[in-house]
């Protein structure tokens, strides 16, 4: 049973517009959420995170929103740039997990010029 779901395998967005990537989870014990970005032939790199005690975290062009009642989080990228084209993974950490992340399957973001 997938505890972290990214239901969109891919997303295409015009350069300069907003990209919204979505992630749903089922385990109410998750208390920390992270987004990673992955380019081809490279390992994932940390992008942004949010604790369950918050509903928003912002870092430059990237904002993560957490809706605990809906068990849903989203990553907003604005404005989208060509270098944002990558696969984005959502990951969740249960309370006291000691770095045991549960990962979504990823969403491939394509930024069109």
């Amino acid at each position: 049973d997938q505890q972290v779901k990214q239901n969109s395998p891919s997303l295409s967005v015009q350069e300069g517009r907003i990209s919204i990537l979505n992630c749903d989870y089922t385990n109410s014990m998750f208390d920390y959420f992270l987004w990673y970005k992955k380019y081809p032939a490279e390992g994932p790199t940390f992008l942004i995170s949010i604790s369950s005690i918050k509903d928003k975290n912002e870092d430059g062009r990237f904002t993560v929103f957490l809706n605990k009642s809906a068990k849903h989080l989203s990553l907003h990228i604005v404005p989208s740039q060509p270098g944002d084209s990558a696969v984005y993974f959502c990951a969740a950490s249960p309370l006291g997990s000691n770095y045991q992340l549960i990962w979504g399957a990823g969403t491939k973001l394509i930024i069109k010029p």
């Binding site: 997938q2 972290v4 395998p9 920390y32 992270l34 032939a41 490279e42 390992g43 994932p44 790199t45 940390f46 995170s49 604790s51 993974f89 990951a91 950490s93 997990s97 770095y99 045991q100 992340l101 990962w103 979504g104 399957a105 990823g106």
Partner: protein, 117 residues
Amino acid sequence: SAVISQKPSRDICQRGTSLTIQCQVDSQVTMMFWYRQQPGQSLTLIATANQGSEATYESGFVIDKFPISRPNLTFSTLTVSNMSPEDSSIYLCSVTGPEDGANEKLFFGSGTQLSVL
């Protein structure tokens, strides 16, 4: 952040053979992990590599199939043994950040793309 060198970056192997993947970190790290990403799927944790002791394996992964070594705080190897086509995946080494309380922030090597014929 830690700099992680993982090799080989890719390999094509014959069924029944074994491949050892190396992971070298530029600084001492407390925790090292090995992940697998099967085609089109999410990352799955194989095991936690423990320095000086046996690795801690996740459900569905066993030491005979994925033996792991970690002789010191900067180096680890993962062996994929007696390979079959189902083992074709990307294998990733991962470490925690150098600071304590990094809240699950992991750093990854560039991965090993394994294809088994």
